[in-house]
């Protein structure tokens, strides 16, 4: 399943494109590592869900989208928004609860989303975005447009009723939606081995008449290829697909997680298969220059440091805005 570094690049992917992916993945990692540090220092309140270890999924899937396509994201949504090209200054400011944040401080970690880039919302409710994704796809179908919707979820979402209803609606109406299941092995502490009686989560799609595939979620090329096929299937009017991307989260479910349900050894084993290391090895084997990779890494670190500085120097929101913010006075900025 995993491509070896000795294999050539997939045809449609250029070295330049792959370097762009590396920059995105490094940005996601550095961004979430910074958030982790801020929590450890007590500089942010609330909670957060880090995408560290899963970067290849968001990056590979979103690389296969076209302008105008949309996604629904999850509680673990920073990676999706960064992969879409989101502004990390506004993301960091939102996490720090500032007026300059994406949601002006109304949303926080679980509601960061850039609609102008096609993000219909991160979502604090497991599977909550899935019926919404299906509705967006219905909207595109009714408008006779060719946009596609990618509905991200975790493994846990597949045991929610919302997934069942959304999958069935997508299937019977042949909607242009791709369900991308980020199987990071745990719904909080619940192991997929305990919470599913299935060998592979992708098997569940058969019950809806939806084609499904399982990919190595730590290999961006596999993710990108599978997503590309599913997205084009959806765009051509052939209906929904499901991709199970097998991956792993290195950090706890949220900031309060003491990792009591898994072993250090297990985490270490997965770190051996790190998606960023994998892509770097691959790029070097295919002619990339090691110093240019290090340069990207430095630039990313600087950009995230700048984002933090931007956020910390941004004003707090004014509570007098609250009551007036509940109802829309006119239609919002739709994608």
């Amino acid at each position: 399943m995993t491509r070896s570094a000795a294999q050539p690049l997939p045809q449609a992917s250029t070295l330049e494109e792959s370097l762009r992916w590396l920059r995105i993945m490094l940005t996601i990692r550095r961004f979430d590592e910074t958030i982790d540090e801020l929590f450890a220092q007590g500089k942010v309140h609330g909670t957060t869900h880090l995408y560290i270890g899963e970067e290849a999924v968001a990056t590979g899937v979103i690389a296969a989208l076209q302008p105008g396509d949309v996604v629904t994201s999850t509680h673990r949504g920073h990676g999706h928004n960064i992969a879409l090209g989101g502004d990390i200054n506004a993301m960091m400011a939102e996490l720090l609860g500032r007026e300059t944040g994406y949601c002006r401080g109304f949303g926080g970690s679980m509601h960061i989303a850039d609609q102008s880039l096609g993000n219909l919302g991160a979502n604090g409710i497991v599977a909550g975005g899935l019926p919404i994704a299906v509705g967006a796809a219905l909207g595109f179908q009714l408008q006779q447009q060719s946009q596609v919707v990618v509905a991200f979820s975790g493994d846990g979402a597949l045991n929610e009723g919302a997934f069942h209803e959304a999958a069935n609606l997508a299937a019977i109406w042949k909607l242009p939606v791709v369900f991308v299941v980020e199987n990071n092995q745990y719904g909080m502490s619940g192991s997929v081995k305990e919470m599913f009686a299935l060998g592979h989560l992708a098997e569940r799609a058969a019950g809806y008449g939806i084609p499904a595939t399982m990919v190595d979620g730590n290999d961006i090329f596999s993710v990108w290829e599978a997503a590309g096929q599913a997205i084009e299937t959806a765009r051509s009017g052939s209906g929904p697909s499901l991709i199970e991307a097998v991956t792993y989260r290195y950090k706890g479910h949220s900031k309060s997680d003491a990792n009591r349900y898994r072993s250090r050894e297990e985490i270490q084993q997965w770190r051996q298969r790190d998606p960023i290391d994998h892509l770097k090895e691959y790029l070097i084997a295919n002619g990339a220059d090691g110093s240019s990779l290090a340069q990207i890494q430095r630039e990313v670190a600087q950009a995230v440091a700048d984002a933090l500085q931007f956020a910390e120097s941004s004003p707090w929101p004014d509570p007098s805005m609250l009551e007036d913010a509940v109802y829309a006075k006119e239609d919002g900025t739709h994608v």
Binding site: R104, Q115, I125, L138, A162, A325, Y327, G332, T333, V335
Partner: protein, 331 residues
């Protein structure tokens, strides 16, 4: 002006908007050839086609969520809950998603979605098909809640609901679907948040909405023969609520009663009472206030039990009379 039923007036509003605006469509269970469980969408599929009058599986969470998603990409969906009780199956999408999207994303998105559903008891449909659940939605910031009592209001308020950029929960009372009334089939929507005085009176204000407007009006006529002059306010819209109209009325009459079919405990009546007590109308109150509501039980099945659950004309009349008389004697 033409005479039509409450159900036909609702259909008229939907058809009007579907003719006017290609973004509007409706989906729900059995709304196509079947015409909807209460016949509201009868014949619409022939006129607008299966795409825009869309039969769905029995999947309320999916239907409401799909309405939200379609709204987010520029459509104007109307979703029908076959019985308003079934919205319980969709609560995450209504409460955690639709109601909060505008706010929690900092105003970057809005959800122009109408959720319609038949509410109320009186049809022998028992505990899971007869509830009046408006208080649940009234409690959730981000939702608007509309409960019309007359055909003309139903049409005008539904036009406004479809045009509103926010999620609107629109409760229709099952016992009103066949009620006839004059309806103005114009393009003009009725603004939300405006109650109306259905009957002017000097002795007490009764605040009510939906089916209970009709029952309190009838009770008031009976009481008029006994010398009591009751003012009746039909709120029409619970969120936003026309508190000013109520406060002004209470300042004139000095007495406040509230009548709704929903169970009293935690009901909208408590909110109405609190708003009046917080206002300068407090100084004008001559007596304790009165709530007349559904019993604090699930809706029962057997006819005498169901009738006992709902405020009847007799119960409303007797309760009001006892309250008015007691006040007079205690003064």
């Amino acid at each position: 002006m033409s005479e039509m039923t409450y159900g036909a007036a609702i259909r008229s509003a939907i058809e009007w908007e579907m003719d006017r605006d290609p973004r509007v469509f409706i989906m729900g269970e059995d709304i196509g050839v079947y015409g909807g469980a209460f016949g509201v969408t009868m014949g619409m599929v022939d006129r607008f086609g299966k795409e825009r009058v869309r039969d769905t599986p029995i999947a309320e969470e999916g239907i409401v969520g799909a309405g939200i998603g379609a709204a987010l990409v520029g459509m104007r969906p109307i979703v029908e809950m076959q019985f308003s009780d079934f919205i319980m199956n969709a609560m995450d999408q209504v409460v955690n998603q639709a109601a909060k999207i505008h706010f929690m994303f900092g105003g970057r998105m809005s959800v122009p979605l109408v959720i319609r559903g038949p509410a109320g008891a009186g049809t022998g449909a028992a505990a899971q098909h007869s509830q009046s659940l408006e208080a649940w939605f009234h409690h959730v910031p981000g939702l608007k809640v509309i409960m019309p009592a007359f055909p003309d209001d139903a049409r005008g308020l539904l036009l406004s609901a479809i045009r509103d950029p926010n999620p609107v929960v629109f409760f229709e009372h099952k016992l009103l679907y066949k009620l006839k009334g004059e309806v103005n089939e114009t393009d003009e929507g009725l603004p939300f948040g405006r109650g109306i005085i259905r009957r002017y009176g000097a002795h007490a204000t009764v605040v009510t909405y939906s089916l209970m407007v009709h029952r309190t009006l009838e009770a008031a006529e009976h009481l008029a023969k006994k010398g009591w002059d009751i003012e009746i306010i039909d709120l029409r819209s619970l969120v936003p609520m026309d508190v000013d109209l109520v406060v002004e009325s209470v300042k004139r009459t000095g007495r406040l009663a509230i009548c709704h079919e929903a169970v009293g405990r935690g009901g909208v009546g408590g909110e109405i009472a609190a708003r009046v007590l917080e206002s300068d109308a407090f100084d004008y109150l001559n007596s304790p206030l009165l709530r007349i509501s559904g019993l604090n039980t699930p809706v029962p099945y057997s006819p005498p039990l169901e009738q006992a659950f709902m405020p009847s004309v007799d119960r409303i009349e007797q309760t009001l009379e006892a309250w008015l008389t007691q006040e007079v004697t205690s003064q």
